[in-house]
């Protein structure tokens, strides 16, 4: 699964997620990526979020929307909200990662797997990584 979240110079956020899903999937199985609020969500009042991981669990956790709700309604910081959602996913037996950006330009990411391909760009430069 791949994903991108961005905030532009006007303070608007957007999210995109795309995937081939799970190897050996059958019966028209669909994961979280195309389900708005699970694997993808964007709201200028909170954040833009994209997820990667075991889709069934991200669906059950309504992960992307939950992260935004924690920010918008709960007043959580972006990274704290992301960490809480990932902890919930782990508790449900899932694994994976999340990326997020807020309208103010704050960024957050995290993953429960050994690695996650990821990158960040801003006016200050670019950085890519796979492991911690």
């Amino acid at each position: 699964t791949i994903g991108a979240v961005a905030v532009d110079a006007k303070g608007h956020v957007a999210a995109a997620t795309s995937t081939g899903g799970l190897t050996a999937k059958r019966w028209g199985r669909i994961g979280d990526s195309p389900l708005i609020g699970a694997g993808t969500y964007a709201d200028d009042r909170a954040a833009a979020v994209s997820a990667t991981g075991l889709g069934e669990i991200f669906i059950r956790a309504a992960a992307a929307h939950e992260l935004c709700a924690r920010v918008r309604l709960g007043g959580a910081g972006l990274q704290a909200a992301l960490d809480a959602v990932l902890a919930d996913i782990k508790q449900l037996g899932g694994n994976g990662g999340l990326i997020a950006v807020s309208p103010s330009g704050e960024t957050a990411l995290g993953f429960t797997t050994p690695g996650m391909y990821r990158g960040i760009a801003s006016a200050d430069g670019r950085k890519v990584a796979i492991y911690d």
Binding site: I2, A4, G21, I36, T107, I120, R126
Partner: protein, 170 residues
């Protein structure tokens, strides 16, 4: 106000030192190319929506990642593609699921958002819609790579219900 772009190319079971050097290098290069595509839009004042689509398109075209070309294979060896896009300004969104022939799933999702009255389209209908709005169609084999075939064969050898729930390849 400063712009920012964050991307991911999937998470999984790869461990430090276990990823072959050429795969590590190719993955990092793919990420850098996606960041560059988004930066070209954001730096001069373009929209976040255009940037995330552009970054996603680069990663969909890169066989290193599980999206577009290079996607994992379903049980019978074909590729099924899902994508979603959302605009934080007004929470408009579009999504596609189970596509088999549309080269740019993320652009199909954006077409659903901007050109239709719907949010989610699936399977043949989603490909039909993408074709109708002029998005490029390709044979399903265009998405398939030998490495993904090997991974599928490895999983199937473990039994007909073997799914990659450890996200070893997804």
């Amino acid at each position: 106000m400063s712009w920012k772009l964050v991307i991911h190319g999937g998470s999984g079971a790869m461990r430090p030192g276990k990823l072959p050097p050429e795969q590590d290098e190719a993955g990092r290069a793919g990420l850098a190319a996606a960041l560059e595509a988004g930066e070209r839009i954001l730096a001069p004042g373009g929209s976040a929506l255009d940037a995330v689509e552009a970054a996603a398109r680069v990663l969909e075209e890169d066989p290193c990642f599980n999206a577009g070309r290079g996607s994992v294979l379903a049980h019978d060896g074909h590729v099924e593609l899902d994508a979603a896009i959302m605009d934080g300004r007004d929470r408009r969104c579009g999504a596609v699921a189970g596509m088999r022939s549309t080269r740019a799933p993320i652009s199909a999702a954006r077409a659903v958002m901007e050109l239709s009255q719907h949010v989610l389209m699936s399977y043949e209908g989603a490909d039909d819609y993408a074709r109708e709005v002029g998005l490029e169609q390709v044979a399903n084999r265009w998405f398939q790579t030998p490495e993904r075939r090997r991974q599928l064969d490895e999983l199937l050898a473990k039994g007909s219900d073997a799914f990659d729930t450890d996200i070893k390849y997804g």
